[in-house]
Amino acid sequence: MNRFGFQSLYRSLSRHKLYAALNIGGLAVGIAVFLILSLFVRFETSFEKWLPHADELYLVQSEWTVPDSPVQGAYPYTMSGLLEQMREDFPGLLGTRIRGGERGGSVIQGGVATMEDVAQVDSSFFQLFNLPMLSGEGKALADPSVTLISRSTARKYFGDANPLGRTMTIAFDEPKLYRVAGVFEDLPANTDLKASILINMPATPPPGAADYWFHWGSTSLRTYLRFPDAEAARAFEKRMPEFVNRRGAAYLGEKPSEIMAISLLPLTRAHLQPAGQESASRKLTVAALGIVGLLTLLIAIVNYVNLATARAGLRAREVAMRKVLGADRGALIRQFLGEAVLTVAVAAFLGLILAELGLPLVNAAGGLSLTLPYAIVVPGLLLLALIVGVAAGFYPALMLSRFPAASVLASARSPGGGRAGTRARELLVVLQFGLAIAFIIGTMVLSAQTRHVRTSDLGFRRDGLLVVQSLADSGVTEAQARQIVTALRALPGVKAVGVSDTAAGGGGNNNTDSVAIPGRPGSGPSLRRLTIGPGFFEAYAPRLVAGRLFDDAYGADNNSGWRDGLPRNIVINRKAVSTLGFASPEEAIGKTVGGKQPRTIVGVIDELRFFTPRLPDDPTYYVYYRDSPGESFATIRYSGDAQAMEQAVGDLWRRMAPQVPLNARTADSLFNEFYQADDRATRLFAIGSGLAVLIGCVGLWGLASFNTQRRVKEIGIRKTLGASSTDVAKLLVGQFLRPVLIANLVAWPLAFVAMRAWLAGFDDRVALSPLFFIGATLAATLIAVLTVLAQSLRASRAAPSWALRHE
């Protein structure tokens, strides 16, 4: 490409400003979308990879295969004492546990507790998680009176002063004084490890944990192992069934390995790994967004090639002239490839600017903190410019250089590629709009689903509900808890306060229990067991399907002081009716189940959905303890302003239990956590597909303008032969409508398969209605018509004699 080459490119771009803007702008937006979404995918797939030798670390999973149980599949938690038993059986094993973590404990200062990410870890922790230390050493953790804190925690509690050697009161199982022996760098954003304060794991089970520490079947913390290679990990995993059978026999029946397996999950894969019955839709979301980014770039490239080849014909005369003046084919190919690479490079640069400008918006929409790593992005974009430039420029370059000079110069007609060229361009429009329509369908389904879960029936009213989780904190005594509940009930605006071991939004205890069915062999199906106290049903007001709710008038309703063999009353949910083998709720009333632990069903209620909409409703039974809040959450049903209520509860809490930080959240905000990831994905998807559609439109617009220009003469002929303006406009719009309509054949199956897979990740989901598909098609058609209508109308109004003279 010589000086004239540059000049001719510059003039060609500045002379056809709109064309240049579409061509370069479309590609730039495509590159920006691709950049941002690949940053997102890179972030989501980079979890824990920042750790030194991350590939040698494994998360121990408990895998359950229990018939009829709500607990199925692999969970990233283990029994507390598992590592201790493993060490006994496999000497030399390198592992650590993390107990607590996110909001796992608190720091008490001047009698006031502040919730912190306190994690109790084995002293071998740093042999696995070699966190960068700013001062002190990881091995100091061997001392049980020592703590290591993060940089921002040090700043928060000690300011600019040197924290080493200072002491702080940390409440984990119980409040204790610790000496700061080291400061580690804050953990990066791409980690699921949540710890800002590390303390030592006690050698013996801590108070209150003794009864479950070595109880097989319980899961309470995360256990990590380190192996030199995958081979060693596999070999270890192979020995697990025998280990489970030997150690678990006393708890899990004769053949424990049949219902429970221990498996190793490479830590770097843990972030996107679905837990238990959750389907892989998190992985799917990340993959889908990656694909959106890639396809948007593809659409933009397709556009570029499309417009470039379409325009190539218009430059035939220039090519012919250059040939006459002595340019050979090689020189021409070099010129056009050079132009293409240069144009794409300009687009890539603009794309980078757009990505940088758009990143704050995307971060805000997606709750992310992505930044552009220039060291990777810039060489990547240069490579992209080269590849896309060559790919996009190759066909036009070859086609143009092949034009026979003489015939081009002699004829008035410009070679536009004929029917084959038209077909190829039509195919590209089909591909583009196919993807665009699929994106529109996807966006509609995603937002319908995320809207649905926000408004779907949970079995209780989600507004006016405040869950006080800190009532279950080990720092609150039972007597204190009772006083607090009584005081809460007296607050103005409070209608009911219910206590239970888990509440709306999940958390707390998750217990399941086998319930034997009379006349049937075996221990029976597993049901979720919810322990509730007074006020629970008043606070949640479930719909009663049959029988009655708990009532203090019935002595057998109360489980306090329960002894083996004594029959007690339970309330079950609708799902448990069929699990327990009853034909109808009415039939279940009065029946006794449970074998050695007889329980009589007195009521059936509609499901109360406390957990993520991704999981199915569990068959559940409720047991009632009249006087024991135990380790319970309090749920407050109130009327009036949420903020005022939170304020009142906060004041009361700080007065009655200052040693424990208050953790009280509205049901709305707790449920929002379930929805957050999907909301985020939906917003990113909507932005990505919106831009993909926009780029598609830009392409269509450009193509329409090119086509209309190329058909000016044809329009003139048709008008001379008696076609009205309407006839011509119809013709031009119709020409673009056909590929857009054919695009549905691509879009519908694609969107159907993808959306069915995504929705399968939700138990509570919207139906994949045909309206989404029809709606998207109508939207795309409307967009396409509007895109080409203006120029079609303009072209159709041109005077035929002018059009006939037009060359």
């Binding site: 002929i717 008008k719 032969l721 008696g722 076609a723 009205s724 035929p800």
Partner: protein
């Protein structure tokens, strides 16, 4: 059949005013074969375009039969062209993306009075100009003479009252030119009214009447002695 009275056509662009037609008075009777001659830029094509209603005069009256065409709007003019006129151009003006058959069919595509079988009419028109064997071909696969015959088929397929031909032999060699003229003569003999612009005196001689133009005016008119 046609009466042009005091037709004026002026173009204004960039403050330059060009007068293409001045004080044109012209009568064309049904069944006439009129040839228009004159040097390049004298207004021949503008006159033909005015007759074809694809160009509107800036002054004067255009009566077709007893209809005043100045009173018609764009849509009505389009219908008038579809139902009344046939066009033949120097550069054929076939549509590249359509086959010969489809191009010919375009001649009646915009007629609302779809009398008879369209396919038969297209076949008959192609037969008449001897192009039927090329029906499925595209224009660029045909010789110039064949393309012009296809264009004539398109012009006559609708049985127009008036055929307007703008240098129909201008892009053809002698032999093909003669062929085209034979077809036009045959059409005229069969009763068609034809107005033709031409540079060729010999072709003009074939017409029944000839007018000469210069600088936008009709300067001479001569009727061939039969």
């Amino acid at each position: 059949m046609i009466r042009l009275e005091n037709i004026q056509r002026r173009y204004v662009s960039d403050e330059v005013e060009t007068t293409a037609l001045k004080d044109i008075h012209l009568h064309v009777e049904a069944g006439e074969f009129l040839a228009i001659m004159g040097p390049s830029g004298c207004g021949k094509s503008t006159l033909l375009n005015t007759l074809g209603t694809v160009d509107r005069p800036t002054g004067g009256r255009y009566l077709f039969g007893d209809r005043d065409l100045a009173a018609l709007n764009e849509a009505d003019l389009a219908r008038f062209r579809a139902e009344t006129l046939g066009f033949v151009f120097q550069s054929f003006n076939l549509i590249d993306e359509l086959t010969i058959e489809e191009n010919v069919a375009l001649g009646i595509a915009y007629r609302r009075d779809a009398a008879g079988n369209r396919r038969d009419r297209v076949a008959a028109a192609m037969d008449r100009v001897g192009i039927a064997h090329r029906a499925r071909h595209f224009p660029h696969q045909l010789s110039g003479g064949q393309q012009q015959r296809a264009a004539i088929a398109r012009a006559i397929v609708g049985n127009p009252k008036l055929i307007l031909a703008d240098e129909p032999t201008g892009n053809l060699d002698t032999e093909n030119g003669a062929q085209v003229m034979n077809i036009l003569t045959a059409l005229n003999n069969a009763g068609a009214t034809i107005v033709m612009v031409t540079h060729s005196p010999s072709h003009a001689d074939i017409a029944t009447r000839r007018i000469d133009m210069l600088d936008g005016r009709i300067v001479a008119s001569a009727t061939r002695a039969i």
